[in-house]
Each structure stands twice: as C-alpha cells, then as structure tokens.
Symmetry: D2
Subunit: 376 residues, 4 copies
C-alpha cells in the first residue's frame, strides 16, 4: 500500500506543533511529506523546507494548493498547522480542490469562520480531520468504550480540567505571542488553546453533547488581551452536569489535562501526563488500574497501541493515532470505499462545537456567567 502524499501549511523552523505533526505522520509509515508552505513569508518557507529536505516548497498555501492540485503526483492530504486565524482560508483552498485536510485545533479563530468552513467541507468530497490529538490515546479510547458499553451506567458528573503554568507571567516568544493575540488566536485564550481540548475530550469519552454552559473567565496577567484562566459549568444532554477548568497560570501544571466521569454504576479517571493508566471503580468494588494493553483493557485501546503493557506510549503515539486513523479513511476514499469499521477521528463537526464552546464562554462571562446555549 503506497504512502499518502502529504503537504504541510505552517510548521516552519521555530514552530512547535509542526514537528509534532511530522513525527505523528511518520510513526506508522502511512504518509510521505512531499510539499510545504511552511511559513508566513516565502523566504522563511523556503529555508524551513530545505532544512526538512522537502521535494517541493511553495511561497504560500494558495500557490501550493493550486500547483499540487494540478500534479499527477500531487499531495493527497494537507496538514494545516498555522496559528488559528489562518485555518479557515487555508483549509478552504485545499477542500475546494478535493485535497483532504488534517487541521490543528481550534477549527478557526471566529465562529463565523467556523460556520463557513463547515459549509466548505460539506460541499467538498475531501475529508476533514481535526487533530484533537488526545482522543488518540489508547486509554481514552478504552474509557469511551467502557462508557458506551454501560460499564459505569448513565453518566451523572463530568469533571474535566486542563491546567498549565507557562503563561503565569508575561511571555513574548513566538508560541506565546500568537496565542495571546486575539487577532490570531480568536476571542479565547486558554479557552481556545486548551479549553477546547478539555471540552472535546469530555464529549468524546462520554458520548454526550453539552447543551449549555456558564463561564467565569479571567485574564490574570496584566495587559493580557485574552483569557488565561476559565471556570465553566456544563449541562449535558440527558441530565449530566460538569465542570471544566482550564488555566495557563497554575504553577506546577505542565499539560495536566485530566478527565473524570462518574455514572450511576462506576467511575473513570484518566490523566494525560500518565496516559497509559485508566482508573476504573465499579461502585462498591476496589479501584482498578487498567493499563494500556494490560489485563482489563480491550480492543478499542489495542487497535491504536503498539507495544506491550508496561512500555509507555505517549503524546506522539496518541497524535500518530489520529494520523493513522485518517490514513485508513484516506486510503479507503482513494478506493471509493467507506472508512473501515472502528476508524475514529475528530471531524469538522467537533471543530465547530469547539469554536461554539469558546464563543459561549466569552458570551456567558460577559453576561456575568449567565447560561448560554452551545448553539447560540
């Protein structure tokens, strides 16, 4: 089976997430990166492309979309790893040419853009994959499978949090700069950058939708223009309730995404920094530590796992799982087949919900934490 020809928008020399996408695409050997428009200027793009040894480097994403679409051996898929405000325009160029899009989150920097992008995707034959990478962790899949299988009963309470500490003080390096600039990141700061991950994870694992939320968001660091901390209460379809906390000003937290789900019959707990463990407590029984590929872990986890239990897999492997799931769907699309059963990745619909989440947080907080519907 030949590798999928992949292009990349963004991800130049000084970016973090571009390198992650590249490794993720390589781990299971399903992609070959052959083209890029890697930076905001042609010069930088070229320099980064050379450093990576890319066969084809373009001045900008539009040029890349046009030219690659014309080649017989043009890219079949593109990874978009730019700051948020570029996602919509870039994705549209590829979608309208039938090139599959693998896009970093949040979907867009504005709700208006998100809605337009949904339409663009609907009118394209190309697939749209959103890299909410945490859904690729095997034990997250395991948790989702257990909830769906009724092992904790009807969900009552969802506690999800994603604290970090790196923006506890003013920072001006590139990664910080665009994330705290509303023109590039959108109206949400922590809510957009990490709150969307927490939100998506809670929905992914529980299989529930958030109907409404009320939020109290803050910018603690003087002069910061977007939120760096957010407290959110959630009401799910079916009556479950939840809390979401995201923060970039919580010293001692690196990427401490954590999800806890409690149902009528049991509870589940998972933490991103120790991702090979899933705690499961059937009510009235001792807590059990289910390990990746270990006893008690099932097929949902095993199909996205590579090594035996006790050998930790991490962030890159979870990210790679999104790429490999996408590869299954892309190769099926090549052949005109539907994606195989069980293939699972975040879609543009999840992306829209994430942007709605950010928008609802901002709106609710502006109204003194009034309840706001997600589909406001």
């Amino acid at each position: 089976m030949s590798r999928i020809r992949l292009g990349m928008v963004g991800g130049g020399n000084d970016a973090f997430i571009g390198g992650v996408h590249r490794i993720a695409s390589r781990i299971d050997d399903r992609y070959e990166l052959v083209a890029g428009a890697l930076s905001s200027t042609p010069e930088k793009s070229r320099a980064s492309g050379e450093a990576l040894g890319l066969p084809r480097v373009y001045d900008d994403y539009k040029q890349m979309a046009q030219r690659e679409a014309r080649r017989k051996d043009g890219i079949e898929a593109v990874s978009i790893v730019t700051p948020n405000h570029v996602h919509y325009q870039a994705a549209r160029e590829f979608l309208k040419r039938g090139i599959h899009v693998i896009c970093d989150k949040p979907l867009t920097s504005t709700l208006a853009d998100a809605k337009k992008l949904v339409k663009a995707a609907e009118s394209s034959d190309a697939l749209f994959i959103l890299t909410h990478n945490y859904t690729g962790y095997p034990m997250v899949r395991q948790a989702r499978g257990m909830v769906a299988g009724g092992e904790i009963g009807a969900v009552r309470v969802v506690q999800v949090e994603y604290p970090q500490d790196w923006l506890s003080v003013e920072q001006d390096f590139k990664q910080a700069a665009w994330r705290t600039d509303p023109n590039q990141s959108g109206a949400g700061g922590s809510t957009g950058d990490i709150g969307t991950h927490a939100f998506n994870l809670a929905c992914f694992v529980t299989g529930l939708e958030v109907e409404s939320l009320c939020a109290d968001i803050q910018a603690f660091v003087p002069g910061r223009q977007v939120d760096d901390n957010a407290h959110v209460m959630l009401r799910f379809s079916g009556g479950a309730r939840g809390m979401l906390w995201c923060s970039q000003v919580a010293p001692g937290n690196e990427n401490a995404l954590k999800l806890r789900v409690y149902g009528e019959k049991g509870g589940l707990e998972w933490a991103q920094e120790d991702p090979n463990y899933l705690w499961f407590t059937p009510f009235g029984e001792p807590k059990r530590l289910i390990t990746r590929n270990g006893a008690g872990a099932g097929e949902a986890a095993a199909r996205v796992s590579r090594v035996p239990p006790g050998h930790p897999e991490g962030y890159l492997e979870g990210f790679a799982n999104i790429y490999s799931e996408a590869a299954e769907a892309i190769v099926a699309a090549r052949d005109g087949r539907p994606a195989p059963d069980g293939v699972l990745y975040p879609t543009i619909s999840d992306g829209l919900k994430g942007v709605q989440f950010v928008s609802a947080c901002v709106k609710s907080s502006g109204r003194d934490a009034a309840w706001v519907r997600l589909d406001h």
Copy 2:
C-alpha cells in the same frame, strides 16, 4: 496541668463522629470525658454511657448543662456531636452557663439558627470551637503559613473539591438517613456535610473571604431530598477566583478532599487522603514534595505534629490538633489569660460562613446559578 473535664452531647453507640471526637480528645491527654447525654432517648444515652464507662450520664443535654453547671467539678467544656439540627439548641444551653463548646460542623441546620447562635456566643464568656478538623492537619497549616508568608504571591486561582461515593445509591442506615433528611441536616446535603469543609479549607489556607458564588446543585439519586452533588464558582475578596465541587455520588472517591491554590509566584496542592504531603511549585522551578516534619516544612506544621517525617499522621491526629488547640485556649481562659500566640482553631464566625455558604448555594441554584453574595 490538670486535664479539662469534658462532656459530650450525642455520640452514642451507633454514631461515627462521636468516637472520633473521643479519640481526638485523648491523643494529647488534655481532656477527661466525665459526662454525657449521648443519644436522643434517655435509655439509649444510658446504654452508651455505660459502654463508655462514663462517670455521669444524663437523659438529655439540657439536664446535663443544668446539673454540670452546678457542680464544682462540673464539665468545663462540652463536645456537641449530634445531627446538625440539634447544634443550636444544645450549644445555647452550655454557652449561657459559661461552658466552652466544641461543636461539630456545620454550625447549624438553618441560617436563622446560625445567626442566633452567633449572638448567644457573643454574649457568653465561653469559647466556641468548631471542628472543621481538616484545618488541624499539619500540612494544611504549612500551606496556610506559606500563603501568608508570600511564597506563592497573590492568590489567583483556588480549586477545591470534596468528592465521596457512598451515597451513589439510596442508603438507609443511620449515618445516611439523617444526612439526607432536610429536617435534620438542613437545606444542604453534600453542600452542608462536605461542601462546608471544602469551603472552610479554601478560606483557611488562602486567608481570603468568598464574596459571592454561583452554584448548580443536583440530587442525582431518585427521591433524594437534598443535594448529593454541587458545582460552585467562587469569587474571593481581592480578585481571586475559584471552583468548588462536592459530591457524594462519585464512585471511586472515599474522602477525596483536595485543595489547590495558585498564586502569581507559585502553586500549592494538598489532598486529605495523603495528608502528610504538600506539593509546592515555585514558578519556574521543579515541583517539591514537602513532607510533614521533613525538609522544607516549618514551625506551623511542626507545632501540631508528633512523629518524625515518613511516619504518617492521619485523620485522628488532625482532629486531635483541633482539640489540643482548644485545650490551650481553655486552659488559658481558666487562668484569665488570652490564648497563647499561634493557637488556631475554627470559630463560630467560620461556622456562620459555612452556613451562609450552604444557603447561598441553594439560593443561587434556585435562581439558575445567579451570583449570590455570601452575606445575602
């Protein structure tokens, strides 16, 4: 120094917390339990008193207050360990006779009672100690001392939670029955029983007041008349924000009280089930694990600790610390002295705030999670 003569109201054979108070009073050998009105009927009271070998057993607390007050060797202090709705009437009887009161939390079952009890305490010479026992843990003292000493800078974010699981299903044994009966527990279920502890702990450690809150409270178990889960957002004096979660329906949680405090310069994390550890992260430095009496722990912890680091102290020792702090104050009062510097215990003022917290949660939730001031 002679032991303090102590009486007890409540705490009969089938109670849980009465036994805890008795052990707590013994650990540092500062009290001698000499009288009791241990149950709701004279017969049961007598049976429990005999089982304990108490010198003097009374039919009810009123009789005990009257007769002990007349004795030369009458009790100097009384522990009130009944269900919540009895606290006010019982405490008043002893306060008006100058007998110090050590009362379990929450202060009362209604806000009206709490306000009347504050007045009763104000017009008495007797001391009033509220057993928010978690404030007695050495590492909680350590945390409070570090916040006060500026080690984490101005507080920004407070995350506090107290999940349990024992009421995940309907329960009808005695401990569950009164806690889920609004006539005995008050309007709050989980909010009153454990939410008040979480609330008190957050204020104790940070030294901050909660100005207002908004709450979404639930009774998940069918037929339950009081909340068994509560989500609360907090606004503190000085601008700090927080979240409080308490639950009795979270399978896998026993008494998982946990406090996390984040300031401009660092973060602190403490968990009741592993109470001998305090995590401290100065921003930009590695996380440090401070252990009770170990390196990095200071005098605030050492003065309420008994054994070397690595030998765990637990719930009973923390509880005993409240008793021993009270003993310092009571013995000083005996001699007409003020309590020595550093003596620290929760007071009736903390008790009032706790009842205000419950009342505000119920009120806010009734208004669809509108912000309610604590002093509503």
Copy 3:
C-alpha cells in the same frame, strides 16, 4: 472494664519513642500510665515524670519493679522504651515479678541476652509483647489475611526494604548517638534498628520463616562503628526467596518501609508511608487498590481500624493497635482467660528471631556473604 495500670522504663523528655508509646497506649483508652523510671539518672527521671504528671516516679527500673510489685494498685504492665542494651535487664526485673512487659524492638542488643530473656519469659506468667508496630497497620493485617487465605497462592518471592536517610552524614544528637554506638544498639546498626522491622514484617505477612540468609553490610559514613546499609538475600521455609534492603544513608527516604510479596496466583504491595493502601494483583487481572475499610478489605483489617475509608490512619494508630491487642490479652489474663480469638501481637519469639537476623547478617557479612542459618 477498668484501664490497665501501666508503667514506663525510659521515654524521658528528649526521647522520641517514649512519647509514641504513651500516645499509642491512650488512643483506645485501655491503659493509664501511673508510674515511670524514665531516664538514666534519678534527676532526669524525676524531671520527666513531673512534666508528664505521673503519680509515681522512680530512680530506676529496678526500684520501680520492686515497689510496684508490692502495691495493691501497682502496675500490671510496663513499657520498656530504652536503648536496646537495657532491654534485657529491665524486662527481667518485671517478668520475674509477674508484670507484663511491652518492649520496644530489637529485643536485646546481643544474641546471648535474647536467649536469656526468652528463658526469663518462659519461666514467668507474665505476657511479653514486642512492639514491631508495623504489624499493627490494618492493611498489613489485610495482607497477612490474604496470604493465609490463599489469594496469591504459594509465595515465591518476597521483596522488603526499609530505607531512611537521616544518617547520611555523621549525626551526634541523642537519637543518632545511641543507635550508632554498638555498646548500646548491639552489633547491628541499620540491621537492628530498621532491618529487624523489615524482617519481621516479611515473616508476619507471609507466615513463613527465614531459614538462612547471606548479607553484605556496610558502614558508609566514615568512623561509623555499626552498619548503616545492608543488602541481604533470604531463603524462606518452603522455597520462597527474598531480598531485604535496609539503609540509613539513602537520601530521599524517610521511613520508606515497603513490602512486596509475589505468589503463584497474585501479588501484594504495601508501603508504610502510605499505609492505608494495599495493592493486590490477581495474575491476569487488573491491579486493585484496596483501601482501609474500603471495598475488598476484610475483617482482619476492620477489627484494628477506627475511621471510615478515605480518612487516613497512620503510624500512631498502627502502634496503638499493638497496645490494644496487648490490652485484650492482659485483661484476659487478669480474668484467667486465654486471649480472645484473633488477638495478634509480636511475641518474644519474634524478638529472638529479630536478634538472630541481626546476628546472622553480621556473621554472614564477616564471611564474605556466606549463607548463615537463622538459628546459627
């Protein structure tokens, strides 16, 4: 039931373990401390006795034994909490007068003394209780019960360790001084002080005897006259094998006693610093976290536990369990009854084995780690 009248030898003002014994004796209200010979000089003994408010203070243990034996209300039991080299002489005085002895470990400072003390105990009607306090922890009892109940099958491998760090450098305060003086502590340093605990714990939980051992012991701190680190391999009756490590020079370890037992069908793991947890893995199933009084914990733990799951009990409660077990036996002896079923405490026989362990370690190490039988 009247309290047991207790005396104490050692445990003066600047001792650590004396205070522990006193608290342990109080927690369950089964003892009343009424007499003491608390220090090595009459003056110090008196000062300490006064500070404690003891009714009767003696110049030395011999005087105490003689005079108390003559009183109608004389002590029924004595706690011996001196440095090791005093144990034998002191215990003998009380045993020969029919006063029960509760003695700190190790039993004696020499093997010869240990053997003589065994004879003294055999020819006395009095009970002999050795405070290997770690056997009092509820989850240690739980582990022992599970091994005995066959839940892990025949034991194959035992890993036990007790590292500390406080003697990583030369120390000259009192607690360190006698423990590193072979005239007071005996030939073993870390082996006697903490190795005996580890050894006893392994045997207590597995129900097995150690038949022989080979040891490599060291004194790392220059000038130290007794071992401060020991590596030991163990051969148990029935074919199980084990390793024991004890150290006082392992920075980062406070009192990190840890036991792991692996059998044909499962494994158990317990750590003193987090004593309310017992890890149990039935082979081929997920690891389970059994908590004190929680789901999966049984009667063996419950009968020596006081508070609900999730409320930690610690070192003092575990120590108190030895005292309370002893109290059951002492009260039964008062009445001429055998101790009730289930009463369990370390005996002089365990004490002898502990001294044999130290002696075998020293002997083996002297022979370049040759195997030495315990009953050498």
Copy 4:
C-alpha cells in the same frame, strides 16, 4: 542529508521487537528500511517482507550481507533483532563487510560468542550499536548527567530492579518459547532478557563498573529450564554496593524497571513505566520532581527529547533516541568524521559486560551465591 539505508535481520510478522526497531528508526526520519531477511525460513521472510513493502527481501542474513555489500546503493547499516543465539553469526557477516550493526540485547547467548564478536568488531571499521534502549530515555540521560556532575556526590548504594509477571505461568507462544529455551536465549532467562537491561542501566547512570556479584537465581515455574527470577548483590568499582532484582514471575509488574542511586549528597529515582519523571533529593532538602524538558532538566535530556514538558514521551521515543544517536555516528563515519560530541549509545563493550553479568549470575548461583568477578 540523505537517509541511512537500513536492513533488518529478524523481525518477521509475529515478532514484537522488530516492529519496535522499525518505528524507532522512523521517528526522527534518519533511516530508510530497504532490505530484510526477516525470518528463519525464506518463505516466511518473503511473506513478512512483502507485508512491509520492502524493496529487497532475502532468504537469509548471509545472502543479504553478501549481496547488499556488492550494491552501490546497498545497506549502510543492519538491525539484528533475532533471538539471542543468532546475534553472533549474523553480526559477524555484516561487520566483516563494513556494514554497521545495530543489535538487540543481550549481545549473544554465550560468553564465548560474545568474546568472538568483540574481536570481530575490533577488526571491522563498522560501528556496533547495542539497543539497550532504556539508556535512550531523556530522564535517564538527565540522571547520568547529574551523577557525573556531582549532584549526588560519590555513589554509595544502587538499587535496580526489573520485575515482570508474564511468565508467572507456563507460556508457549513464540515470545515466551524462545526466551525460555536455553539453546536460543542462552544460560540466563530473566537474567539475560531483562537483568542485562537493569545491569546496563545501573552502570550507565552511575558511570561505575561492577567488579563482582553474588547471585541466587531460581526457576519457579515447574519445568522451566532457565531462571525466571534472580536476586543479585553487586560490588561496584570505588566501593559502591548494590542490589539487582529481575523477575518474570512477579504478578502486578509489567515492565517495572526501576533505578535508585544514592550518593553522599543526594539521591535519584527513576522508573521506566513513568519515564518522564526523575526524583531528585539533595540531602536535607525537599524531594524534587524533575520533569522531561521541565524546570531543572538540562541539556543532556533536552537533546534527546521532542515535545514540551507535560507531554509524555515513551518507550518508542527512548528507543528512537538510540537509533538517532547511531545515525549521528553513522553519518559522521560516512564523512570520515568522528561522531559529534555528546553522541552516546551502548556499544559492544556494554554488550560483553551484559553477557558477563549473565554468566557470573549463573556461576555464582551454582556455587551457592559465592562472589564471582565480572571478568571471570
């Protein structure tokens, strides 16, 4: 920089470690797998090669070595991932043709083979890299750097262990079969398969050599022909002492490799299953949790790490680091340069020591745990 052309011996369809090597070689994009002799029969080799889409598949390693050596675009390096007894013969074929060898551990199944292979390597210009992959973990590099930098002072005590549980019962699938067959694995079972890893890790981090050891090894499962559990005491150059435990019969352990190193000034602790953490305790200060790429971690870790702190890297990334270090050396060799400063991977000399370790364990145990020199 063009990718290194890589071949593979072993690693057919049903092997575990071959897949690991292939992913490890891809993660940093330094290799391209172009040839293989993947299985013990030509048919199986061909089937596996086709499944992988390999350009060139051979009947056996000898054929591959001969033919590839003749090609202009022949492989520059070969990964040998067969059972142990094949390593020597296979490696020799490539070494003598100047093809770099990346070989799985243990080096060989016999000490005689190991010594011959050392000679073969000495007389070849090709590099020899042994995949003691745990030395590739960033926090292992961090630990090694800290020891070398004097942060814990002179090493006194080393505790290393590698327990597993998968061979607690008789197993007959392929992975188990060859590992328990002395003709394929060599005289050591657990000692060879995992004990060598533990041994290598202890030496790698401390920078010390083991001079002698005494061992007590067992085969607990009836009928097993090689050890499945081993207890070993170690004497290091310079006076440090240690213990090593490896086991395949310890239920509840998956790949629980753990290293603890204690020096005059501090201690370090690392565990493979949670590899992004390194515990560091400077004596007399609180324990510190150093995280990969987090505060307190240095360049030694950063140069072999890919993502920010809090995003876990795992087993495959650690393995990839060995491949990427090797790539640095191989590319330098291409150009006739020495490997750049800082490049670090296990060599054939480490391999010889590992086989000596196994041999010494077997020999010592056969002499009732007498001390045996490593270079016996």
